[in-house]
Every structure is written in C-alpha cells, then in structure tokens.
C-alpha cells in the first residue's frame, strides 16, 4: 500500500504554494512548446495538483494521463526563479494517479507487475531476460525474424517496441569488472561503483570505462557483481513504497560511511539516488544513513572534476564532439560544466556546442515506450540539431538518452557515434598508455 505521505494531500502545502504562476517555466517545457496548452505545461500541471490537494478536483483519468504526458525532464526546475520543487510534486502526483486506480486496465496491470514489480525489483530477473535477448540477438535470430516479416503479425505497438530493443552486450558488468579494482598508483580514495540496471545489460562497457578512469585517478573501486535498481523507475512511476524498499537495500549494500564516494554514471539514476533522505525521512532506522548517502553519491563527471582529474597525455586523433545534456544530470543534478570540462581535457578533441543542448531528447526513462509520438518528435528535433553541429560524435551521460540517440541515428541512417564522455576519456588514457 502507498503511504499517505505519497499523496498530494499529504504533501507539505507550501511546496504546492511555491508556484506563483509567473509562467517563466513555459518556454522550457517540451510538451507546452509542442501544444501551447497550459495543462501540458508545468504551471498548469501544478495547478491541477494543487486543485487535488485543495479537494477541488479528483484524481481523474485525464489528470493521471497528464502526469504521464509530462516527460519529467525537470527543465522547469532550472527555469524556475521561485525554486518550485517540481520533481517532488511530480512523483507525488504520479503516486496519486496510481493509488486512485483510474489508470488500471488488465494489460497495464500486467505490464507494470512484470516490469516494475518483477523485472526491476530483483535484477537477477532482468539479467535473465537480458541473457535470453542476447542469445536471440547473437544467434542472428533477431535479423532473421526481422527479415522474415513475422513481426508484421504483431500489433503495431509491439512491432515498434521490437524495433527499439537495445543490443545486449556480450558481457555484463560483473564479467568485465572485478569486485575490487585497485587504484593505479597510490590509493587516494575508496569508492563504490553503481552499475545500474539497464546500464549493466546494454552499456556494461561504459561501466568498465568508468571503473578504469576511476582507478587511473587514484580510486580503489568496489563493484559488487550483484546490485540493485536505484528505484528511480519506481518513484517516477508512482510506486513510492517499492522505491523506499530499494533505497533501504542500497543503504545496506553500500554503507555510506565506508566510502569516500558512491559513483553513478547514469544521470537519471543519480538524480534519484541523491534524494534517499527525502524518501526515507520518516524512517528513523534509515534516515540518518540516507542523509549521509545523499552527500556521498556523486555523478562520475562531478567526482572526477572534484578530485582534480588527471589529463590524458597528448596523442589523440582529432575528434569533433558535441554534447547533449541528460535532463536529470543538468536539471536534476545541476551538472552542466563538469562533462564539458572532462571533454576539454582530451587532447585534440574539439567540443562544438549543441543548439538546445538542454532540451529533452524524448527518452525520459520509459517515456519513449509509453508516449512514442511525443518522444519521436523530440528525437527528430534533437538529431537535427546534432547534425547542424557537423560533429560525428555526440557525448551524453545517461543510458536512456544514449539508447534513444543510438536508435534515432540507426533509424535515420546517420553516421553518428553516441558515446558517454567517460568512454572518450578512457580511450584517451589507453592511447597514452
């Protein structure tokens, strides 16, 4: 059961009141920009949340759908001079939507039970599915199936979904990264590495690169092979209580007092991981640990700049790179300068600024799956801007965005390398020996 805390009426009213409806968020909201309808913008959404808290509106189906039409990109939070905590309200609003039951349907219930309650609550389930997918892809079955036209028999939505199935890595993180990686040279820090869920299956190479870069910068890296989902998927999808369960387990697995930093390389996860204290504020057994945890969680870019990252030696080929910001890295964690600083360290790398780099690419967690139309509009817009820079490499610090861009580039037949900044850095280190 959802705790009353997670409902809009349980939310501190001053959080809702904080919005003074000046409208300065509107030009930064992708869904408002596309529709020019207030309900599809932050100011309108907040007015609906407040109406529910006031008892002027019930949590209707339209309200619930609206909360899922919101990307949760948090661009409005960067734009908001009044400091409205949209992220908090938004999670409460989705929890309210779920608790009200207005969205319930047998199909949706089944998908949610499978994905949120089974697949992502225990990552051995996710890895199991990953392995099956890997075999399907490695044996060439996917190509075969795609060519055979069998897919045309599936409903359109499933066909589309099959089209964006990510390529599963030949090896997951645990097969690439030792549980304890010693620091190269003298050990200055002891850090924990969070390998993520989807990241572990699809971008285990980025995890490996992250650990390598950390080690080369004096960090001893603790990377247990069996890890958990951070719970952002659950919190963002109205499953407050499951998110709390996962947060408690994380605190057990990575006691924050034992590490100098707890590293994540996924912008979306980091944005959630840094708010465990809020999530567990009413839990006396965990809240102090959670407060320490929030301080210790560091995005990889943030941490490397903080400890004074070592520049790679000067023997890299020329690369023209542009940088697309992950919303939850930029808006959720306010990390915008550090990834650029890291890229600038790489010899012969020219960074060309991406127009609208802060505009969501449409990935937004599972948004591209549940709202494919809006997501693909945003993806097209993003790819156009990337092409306008002339760069053949686009760097980004979040697996969802990386996947979205990879799929987009593939679909449009673009020659574009989509890469995490930390991978470019790791490559530069390797070249310099």
């Amino acid at each position: 059961m959802t705790t009353p805390l997670s409902h809009l009426k349980g939310l501190d009213y001053s959080v809702l009141q904080q919005c003074m409806h000046c409208g300065l968020c509107l030009p930064t909201c992708p869904t408002y920009d596309a529709t020019k309808i207030e309900r599809h913008g932050p100011r309108g959404r907040i007015s609906l949340m407040r109406a529910i808290a006031d008892g002027r509106l019930e949590a209707t189906k339209i309200f619930a759908d609206e909360m899922y039409f919101c990307l949760g990109c948090l661009a409005c939070m960067t734009a908001c001079p009044a400091g409205v905590n949209y992220a908090e309200m938004f999670e409460h609003a989705r929890a309210e939507a779920e608790a009200s039951g207005v969205l319930k349907s047998p199909r949706r219930n089944l998908i949610r039970a499978f994905a949120i309650r089974w697949l992502f609550m225990d990552l051995s389930h996710l890895r199991f599915v990953g392995r099956i997918l890997r075999i399907y892809q490695q044996l060439g079955l996917q190509t075969l199936v795609r060519r055979s036209g069998v897919l045309k028999l599936l409903p359109r939505r499933l066909q589309e979904l099959e089209g964006i199935t990510p390529d599963i890595q030949p090896k997951f993180s645990a097969e690439l990264i030792a549980p304890l990686t010693p620091a190269v040279g003298s050990k200055k820090y002891r850090v924990a590495m969070l390998i993520g869920c989807a990241q572990d299956l699809i971008f285990s190479d980025i995890n490996r690169d992250t650990v390598e870069v950390l080690a080369r910068n004096g960090c001893e890296v603790f990377t247990p092979p069996k890890q958990l989902c951070c719970g952002s998927l659950h919190a963002h999808n109205g499953e407050w209580e499951l998110a709390r369960q996962l947060a408690r387990k994380q605190l057990e697995q990575f006691p924050p007092d034992q590490f100098d930093a707890i590293i994540t390389n996924a912008g979306g996860c980091g944005s959630h991981l840094k708010h465990y204290h809020k999530l567990l504020a009413d839990d006396p057994a965990y809240r102090d640990r959670a407060a320490l945890w929030d301080k210790k969680v560091k995005d990889i870019h943030e941490w490397l700049v903080e400890i004074g990252v070592k520049p790679p030696a000067n023997d890299s080929p020329p690369q023209l790179v542009t940088y697309h910001e992950s919303c939850h890295l930029a808006h959720g964690q306010k990390i915008t300068a550090q990834p650029r600083q890291l890229l600038a360290l790489i010899p012969n790398l020219e960074l060309v600024e991406l127009p609208e780099s802060l505009w969501c690419c449409g990935s937004a967690g599972i948004y591209n799956i549940v709202q494919p139309e809006m997501a693909s509009q945003l993806l097209d817009r993003k790819l156009k801007h990337i092409q306008s820079t002339g760069a053949s490499i686009v760097a980004n610090g979040n697996p969802g965005c990386l996947l979205q861009l990879i799929n987009g580039a593939k679909h449009q037949g673009l020659k574009l390398r989509v890469v995490h900044p930390v991978t470019l850095l790791a490559e530069a280190y390797r070249r310099s020996g």
Partner: protein, 460 residues
C-alpha cells in the same frame, strides 16, 4: 460549467474542435494569470488561429451576451486576463507568427501571440533592436504587452511598449476588423486610435497583429553593479546620475532580501553583504558609453558605494540583466505568496517614496522585498506573505491603500507598468478623476455596448 452547449458547439464549428477546451482539468490551468491570489473558473477556452475566427467568436459572444476574456501567456500582474465567471477565454498563444521584417523601414509585423522574446530575436537576427523587455519577456506575448503597455528594464532611455507600436490590427467587440497606423514615421490623419488600444487591457478589442518599430542595435554596452550599505545612498546615486544629464538604458535597484533571493536562483555572483544594489547599463557608441560608465562609477563611489564592478563581457551583462528580471519570481523563494506593488513617482520623489514604503511595512508588520526601475521612479515593493493568513492579507490591503494614496500625493501613479486589471480597479476613479472616468466609460460603451470584452476589468 454553465456555458450553454449550443455556444460550445458554435465555438467548435468556428475554431475547430481541437481548439476548444471545456474539461475541468483543462480549465483549471486557465483560471488564473500571473497575479497572486486571484482565481476564477472560465466556461471554456478557445484558441484562435486567425482573425476571422475571432470575428466569429465576438459576434457570437455579442449575440449570446457572453463575456470574452482575451489572453496571451497569462503572465499579467494585475489580473487583466483573469477569467470572469464562465466566460470564454480567447487564447492567442497559437497565433505566434513573425510575418514581415522590413529592413528598409525598420519595422516588424507579428501576430499578437508571438512572444516578446521571439520579437527581440527576430530583430536581433537582422542586426536590429526591440528595446522593451518586461520581466516575463521570455514567454509574455506581444499582444499582451501592447494591451498592458508593458515597460521593462530599459524604459528610462528607450521608453515602453507604446513607443514602439506603429500599427495594430484589432477585432472590435462587434466583430469588425480595424487597422490603425502604418509604416510612416509621421502620420496625423485623424485621432490616434492606435494609442487608445495600447494599454486598453483587453477591454476595447482583440489585438491580432502588431506592427513594431525597430531601432539599430547599439554598437557598445557597459554594465556595472554597485553595492551600498544604505538604501538612500543608492537612491542618491540615481538622482545624481540623472542630474548629471546621463540617461543610461538601465538603472535597476534591488534591496537586500531581493539580492539574496536572486543570487540563490541565478548564481551570478551578486555581492551579498550590502543593503542595496544598483544595476546600471549604458549603451550606444563606444566612446560615450565608456565616458558614461566612468562617470556613473565615480558618482556611485562618491555616494559611498562599497564596490563597483564592471561586467567583463556581453555574456556576463546578459546574465546580470536576466537575473534582475527574475527578481519578482525569485522573491517567492522566501514566502508562499508574493504580492508586488507598482506605484510610481516622479524621480525627484523617489527617496521619499522608498522611505514611506519602508515605514508602511513596519507599521503593518509586513515583510517586504523591494526592487525596481529606480531610474523611472517605478519601484516594485513586494509583500512576502501567505494568502491563507487572512489577517495578514488584510494588513497587506491596508498597506496598499496607504502606498497608493502617498504615490498620488507625490504626483505619481497607482501603476507604472502592470495595469489596473482587477487589482487596482478600486483606486482608479480617485486617481483618474471624474472627467477622465466619464470619457473612458463612454468610449468603452461606444465600442462595446453589450460589455462582452473583459467585463469587470479596469472599471465597471
């Protein structure tokens, strides 16, 4: 919802079904504008995409005696676009095209729903300049700016929206389309109807197209930030700058509370250990700009400035101006409800007005953050309150009354740039006087005999 189903069907026929919103979840977000503590549910929202549709809507409204409230982005600060109960909200946000940039005549023709930012960008793309820059310019619409005759940070040197409107297309309340003005610099043919619609707050017609005057972009600009230990030092600096016959484009003022809120949001490195901050900007040809900046700096120092900092480049200057524009919203960081004041006095009376506002805040035990366009005599003392605290809200109202009375006594006005709307409606008769009120009433009645456009706003 008590708008008849037949009206809704007619509106759908006129504007297209997708452009008419009637659900509760759709109407709540249109039940307020940028003004604090005002809310009223409309009957429906109609998005117009052409002037012809607006003609149809107004004819229908006249026939059905239904109120129409025009709206752009709903950022107004006097309740001008607050819906009347069960009215038709006529939203022009989708009519946002930039129609023509005339480089030979330095004019720009836009649809009313284009944002002020889009106007400024279109001008800048041609190396030209549209100076009016209200705080909400990133989202406010040009139609709304014209209807409210908006000001901004550059009013001191460049004037306000009125000074840049050369022509307007207006749909009159009876559905007739009127064009007033042209690209001529001089035009004295008949009454200047254009000027009557500017600042008419949606009561005389629906503005659909705006022809704007652009000016050459100034070649150079210098931005300075000066901080003071006392507010009157800042006020004196402003008086001395004007007395030295320098007209900078910007002379903005922030008090301690506002500085802290703005810095908390914008993180532009504003000095925090001071009671008052002046943001000064001079622009034009490089030589006079350098000269004026140096003189302003020395005047500030003579008045005991703690520090005078010069923005190192255009990017820093833009950041500072953007930070200043966020002041009103940023003040909301420290209180649930922010109610800002807009009383304006002649510049010579500024110091007196500032002292009076401080005394009033103390008298009514209210928290206040003050910022504003000091060079214009246009201050925005902002009450930091909570709309759920009935007693405090009553004291805010009483404080307002005294501030308005004092502004009028000092030869000022009850609103410098936010408009009358509903917020200042009860103060207008006293300020304007009987003859002006009669002329305004008769004028409005002539254009809108059925009283369909924005009823209850400005005056009854």
């Amino acid at each position: 919802m008590s708008l008849g189903q037949n009206i809704i069907s007619d509106l759908r026929r006129l504007a297209g079904a997708d452009n008419v919103l009637t659900g509760k979840e759709d109407l709540i977000p249109y039940s307020f504008d940028g003004t604090a503590a005002l809310q009223q549910m409309p009957g429906c929202v109609v998005f117009a995409t052409t002037a012809e549709q607006i003609v149809g809507v107004l004819k229908l409204a006249n026939q059905m005696k239904t109120a129409v409230v025009t709206r752009g982005s709903g950022t107004g600060l006097s309740g001008g676009s607050l819906p009347s109960p069960d009215c038709i909200v006529l939203c022009l946000a989708k009519m946002d095209k930039v129609l023509e940039l005339d480089r030979a005549n330095l004019t720009l023709l836009v649809e009313a729903g284009a944002t002020t930012q889009a106007v400024a960008d279109a001008a800048a793309a041609a190396g030209l300049f549209y100076p009016p820059d209200p705080g909400s310019m990133k989202i406010s619409t040009i139609g709304g700016n014209v209807a409210e005759n908006s000001g901004g940070l550059r009013g001191l040197k460049y004037g306000i929206t009125r000074n840049y409107v050369m022509g307007l297309e207006v749909v009159l309340p009876n559905g007739e389309v009127l064009w007033t003005g042209n690209k001529c610099v001089k035009d004295v043919a008949g009454y200047s109807l254009r000027d009557l619609f500017i600042g008419s707050e949606g009561t005389l017609g629906v503005i659909t197209k705006v022809l704007l005057k652009l000016i050459p972009k100034p070649a150079a600009k210098k931005t300075l930030v000066a901080t003071f230990a006392r507010m009157d030092q800042a006020a004196q600096t402003v008086s001395d700058i004007i007395a030295a016959q320098i007209i900078p484009c910007t002379l903005e003022f922030l008090d301690r509370t506002t500085i802290h809120c703005v810095e908390d949001f914008a993180k532009v490195g504003l000095p925090l250990d001071c009671e008052a901050l002046l943001l000064m900007e001079t622009d034009g040809h490089p030589a006079p700009v350098a000269d004026e900046a140096a003189r302003m700096e020395s005047i500030a120092r003579k008045n005991g400035a703690i520090e005078v900092r010069v923005a190192k480049d255009e990017a820093e200057a833009t950041k500072l101006a953007t930070a200043r524009r966020s002041a009103f919203s940023a003040l909301a960081r420290v209180a649930p409800t922010t109610i800002l004041e807009d009383a304006t006095v002649p510049r010579s009376e500024l110091a007196k007005m500032i002292r009076f506002v401080a005394a009033i805040a103390q008298k009514y035990q209210l928290r206040i953050g003050t910022f504003g366009h000091m060079g214009d005599g246009n201050l925005h003392p902002t009450f930091l309150t909570d709309e759920r605290n009935k007693d405090e809200m009553h004291r805010v109202e009483e404080a307002f009354k005294e501030i308005f009375t004092e502004a009028i006594r000092l030869g000022g006005t009850i609103t410098g740039e936010h408009g009358i709307g509903v917020s200042k409606k009860s103060f207008l008769p006293k300020f304007a006087g009987d003859a002006s009120m009669r002329v305004m009433r008769e004028f409005r009645r002539t254009l809108d005999p059925s009283g369909v456009l924005n009823p209850g706003k400005m005056f009854d």
